[in-house]
């Protein structure tokens, strides 16, 4: 087995260690906040208080039923393309290092999503369909 040349790899041992410390600290902080909020916060439970707020009136019927939400589709599509943005932006940061291979892979990824977009478009997913 050949020894790894110095500088060929990043000193990942130390990096992972700081990441672990950071994660633990973050989780401790979040846990303490949640605990303090739960412990210090004043709570008075009553049927009125746990009732949904609907302009001061007792709501009618259940909120859990199948309900057309045209905006939902748009929101989901947005999510997909938003994630695409996350990939493309990180790729932009290491564009030179990735070279042509990265370019090709990214292009394939974008083309694939574009094809998906055209498919959605053709299927009428972008039309605001009123129920």
């Amino acid at each position: 087995m050949r020894p790894v040349a110095v500088g060929a790899m990043s000193p990942f041992h130390a990096g992972v260690f700081s990441l672990v410390v950071f994660t633990v600290l973050a989780m401790l902080f979040i846990a303490s906040q949640l605990f303090l909020a739960a412990w210090l916060g004043e709570k008075k439970k009553s049927p009125e208080k746990s009732r949904p707020y609907e302009c001061g009136i007792i709501p009618t019927g259940s909120a859990r039923f199948r309900y057309p939400v045209p905006f939902y589709l748009v929101a989901i599509f947005f999510l997909i393309f938003d994630v695409e943005g996350a990939f493309i932006l990180t790729w932009a940061a290491v564009y030179r290092e990735m070279g042509f291979a990265g370019y090709a892979q990214m292009s394939f990824f974008i083309v694939l999503l574009l094809a998906g977009l055209f498919y959605i478009w053709k299927q009428g997913g972008l039309d605001w369909k009123e129920p």
Binding site: E42, S46, E54, C55, G56, I57, G61, F65, F71, E130
Partner: protein
């Protein structure tokens, strides 16, 4: 021992830190009931800037709020909602009761109003005033902050037992811990002043009878009126009769069975077509004094009878109820009144035929008559209560119904728990709409909602974001102002008129005094007329500025709100300089004004008119070409001109459909015919058209104000007909005759001769009218308030069905609704 002291030191430091943080980060809820909320809102704008005190942003939901400012009148119909909102707020929470109504019922000691919010929720700080000025609310907030500093929250926070935080006062109980008597405890046996005037009590002992007045005004009928009278009397011979004398408009008495035919004839076939149903109401005639006389009940009091102003032949003319229809002809600019007597026959419920198939707008009017008088309408699609809650017993405008809340059982915490507003599903079922399908979701928008501009409840059946159908539930703001009109003396009623539309102030007094002056034929000096116009136009500007700011806010533009309130405060400054009041000027008097114009009024007005058009242009730039604003308003909420006329829509909402109908031009009053101005119109009938019309109206109002200020006539500010007016002080001190008039008119009040009249003016929201009926006493026999909002808002389902839920907010905003003129 040492340890306990240590702990206490730690806790007291913690207390101090917590209280300091809390007092500067109070989160008030966006919750307004009536007039007071307008002053509360003003306290948040730039001049008063409540943010300085650390209570910056109004939270629209109770979950995000810990301060409830109960601003306005607590109605029995809304009280369960108030209680629920309070209970849904975050802990710890505090309550400020703002204004006399919320403190104690205030001037609204009337059947529909809770006499103090402390009967249902605990209160920390009371802010007095009607309404309190914004500064008073600032003071109230500072007092609450001081109260917060006295609390010991840390023991509670650290679960150590004991300690205190939030409102911990008990809810008060009438009779045990609080007295409902406005005079304080200890007066239980003494009747409240004015009790003898309450309806239902026989008033043959009234000293008004000893006072002589000329008879009511008799108008000269025009040829057109007479020819219409001939036309009707010929067509309905024996069934419709013209009343020989009238103070204000042609009046027919029509037999019960023929009313519908006569109305249909007047709407569709007569030479002049009376297209609009202005108003539909009723009068309970059972307490008419000559009727009581005729029944022989008063024979015992013969000494008073001797001076009674009724002649024998007048007695016994009245039926049990009279239903009154008032129609308007747009083409001829004339009105006509149809009266139809109804008698209860053998204990059967009184009823008459519904006219909903002639005018769709009659739907709500008939429900209102049914609610308040108990008169049935056969053929009405869904006859049920409209203003009073469903559980209400009795019909408040009947003469035998007690007017005061203090005469009824007090409203308690248990009532607020029990008397819930109707379930949305029940309302839609009662309105005979198709039951909500499986895909439809019933959503309540209001009564507590930022964008309903008051206590309006819209019940939308939603499918997706589309509104499939819309029901309205009103009456959450019913202040019984018509019943109050029957017990207040003619002058004492003036303050109530302002409150019937708390953004238009004097404009409403204007309608009311016009009506009374018409019955009694009281001349108004030119100077007083001009000042009335000045005030009405100033209030129009101030109202439209509030509208512009809030409408823009409704469609997502925060900016204009901050600016328009700056100019509004300038206008209120002028109004305050002249009248001494802000929202409620209470400055007009029957026959003139309360006082002359003060020094310096002209400069203040001129300064305003010099800068206003430029400022308006600036505000408009924020909106007019804003693509979001256009997308939210253009083509949204359309109503056609035919529909608008048929439904009785008035004011800018009607003019936005293309009809230049403005009372100031079409039926000029108070010298409006001397001023040059235009009546702006638009044709589309959508939200954008309504916006254009109102903005242009502001320009025209400035023109009128300029002209009034330039040509202000000199002379008296109040008539010298002191039989009806409150005399000028200088004159009162000079001769005994005037002193007597002064004494009579400010104590028991003057007498208005037997008669009736409708007086209306063009207020910012449309045609606001008062139909006053006098029985020759010191107060009205019937006080009918015709609010423009009642007719306007009835078209909301028409405009909003099929639009999206976001559009509903645009539409309500563009209609400029205000609840007191809808629910009254």
């Amino acid at each position: 021992m040492e340890r306990a002291v240590e702990a206490n030191r730690f806790l007291s430091i913690a207390d101090r830190v917590i209280n300091w943080s809390r007092k500067y980060s109070l989160w008030p809820m966006f919750f307004g009931l009536s007039c007071c909320f307008v002053e509360e809102a003003a306290a948040f704008t730039s001049r008063y800037d409540l943010a300085r005190f650390g209570a910056e942003v109004l939270r629209p939901s109770p979950r995000q709020a810990d301060l409830l400012i109960v601003s306005g009148t607590v109605f029995k119909k809304i009280a369960p909602v108030v209680l629920r909102l309070y209970e849904q707020m975050a802990e710890p929470k505090w309550v400020i009761s703002m204004g006399s109504c919320s403190n104690s019922g205030g001037m609204y000691d009337v059947y529909s109003v809770v006499q103090g919010v402390d009967q249902i929720i605990p209160v920390d700080v009371y802010v007095p005033g009607c309404p309190p000025r914004p500064e008073a609310l600032l003071e109230g907030l500072v007092m609450l902050q001081e109260k917060v500093c006295t609390e010991r929250p840390s023991r509670k926070i650290f679960h150590l037992g004991g300690g205190s935080q939030g409102t911990e006062r008990p809810v008060l109980e009438v009779g045990a811990t609080k007295s409902e008597d406005p005079r304080g405890p200890g007066y239980e046996g003494v009747p409240i002043r004015g009790t003898s005037l309450l309806p239902g009590r026989l008033q043959w002992g009234s000293r008004s009878d000893i006072m002589w007045t000329p008879s009511a005004r008799r108008m000269e009928f025009s040829d057109a009126d007479l020819s219409l009278a001939a036309e009707v009397e010929e067509r309905f011979a024996g069934r419709a009769r013209r009343e020989l004398h009238s103070s204000d408009m042609l009046t027919f008495e029509v037999d019960r069975g023929s009313v519908k035919d006569v109305l249909r004839f007047l709407k569709n076939e007569a030479k002049t077509k009376y297209k609009r149903l202005d108003d539909l109401t009723a009068i309970d005639e059972s307490a008419r004094r000559n009727r009581i006389w005729s029944e022989g009940m008063a024979e015992a009091t013969s000494d008073v009878g001797a001076v009674c102003s009724f002649s024998k032949k007048e007695r016994g003319r009245y039926p049990d109820f009279t239903v009154v229809y008032q129609l308007l002809s747009f083409d001829a600019a004339r009105r006509v009144r149809i009266k139809s007597g109804l008698d209860a026959e053998g204990g059967a419920p009184v009823s008459t035929a519904s006219v909903t198939d002639i005018w769709p707008s009659a739907n709500w009017y008939e429900r209102e008559v049914f609610d308040l008088f108990g008169i049935g309408f056969t053929g009405h699609p869904s006859l049920r209560r409209i203003l009073m809650p469903e559980w209400w017993e009795g019909h408040p405008l009947r003469k035998d119904y007690p007017g005061r809340a203090t005469e009824m059982a007090p409203y308690t915490f248990e009532d607020a728990r029990k008397r819930q507003p109707l379930d949305a599903l029940v309302v839609t079922a009662l309105d005979a709409k198709a039951p909500a399908g499986e895909k439809e979701f019933l959503l309540n928008i209001g009564p507590h909602h930022v964008s309903t501009h008051g206590l309006l409840r819209c019940i939308a059946a939603l499918s997706g974001e589309k509104i499939k159908s819309l029901d309205l539930e009103i009456g959450y703001h019913h202040r019984g102002t018509e019943k109050i009109g029957e017990r207040q003396s003619w002058h004492q009623y003036i303050p109530y008129t302002d409150r019937n539309d708390y953004l238009a102030g004097s404009s409403l007094e204007f309608s009311y005094v016009t009506a009374v002056e018409t019955v009694a034929d009281i001349g108004v000096p030119e100077r007083a007329q001009a000042v009335r116009v000045l005030l009405a136009e100033l209030y129009r500007l101030s109202n439209h500025l509030v509208w512009l700011g809030t409408f823009a806010h409704d469609v997502g533009a925060m900016g204009p709100n901050f600016y328009t309130f700056v100019e509004r405060e300038r206008i209120l400054d002028i109004i305050e300089l002249i009248t001494g009041g802000r929202l409620h000027a209470e400055f007009l008097r029957i026959g003139g004004l309360a006082a002359d114009l003060p020094d310096g009024w002209k400069k203040a007005v001129d300064d305003l008119t010099a800068i206003f058009p430029r400022r308006l242009l600036e505000y408009e730039k924020l909106l007019r070409r804003n693509p979001i604003f256009l997308a939210r308003t253009k083509g949204i909420g359309k109503i056609s001109l035919e529909d608008a006329m048929d439904w009785g829509v008035s004011g800018p909402n009607l003019r936005a459909c293309g009809l230049a109908w403005d009372l100031r031009k079409k039926m000029p009053y108070s010298g409006y015919d001397h001023y040059e101005f235009e009546v702006p119109t638009a044709t589309e009938g959508d939200c954008y058209a309504r916006y254009l019309v109102r903005v242009e109206e502001m320009r025209q109002s400035v023109r009128i104000i300029e002209q009034v200020a330039r040509n202000m006539p000199s002379g008296r500010y109040v008539t010298d007909d002191y039989r009806y007016a409150i005399p000028r002080r200088g004159e009162m001190l000079q001769d005994i005759e005037t002193l007597i008039h002064h004494f009579i008119n400010v104590t028991r009040g003057m007498k208005i001769p037997v008669g009736e009249a409708y007086g209306a003016t063009e207020v910012p929201r449309g045609e606001h009218g008062y139909y006053v009926v006098s029985d020759g006493l010191g107060s009205a026999y019937r006080m009918r308030v015709r609010g423009p909002g009642f007719a306007n808002i009835q078209t909301l389902p028409l405009m909003a069905t099929g639009e999206s839920i976001a559009d509903l907010i645009s539409i309500i905003g563009s209609m400029d609704v205000i609840l007191p003129d809808i629910d009254r």
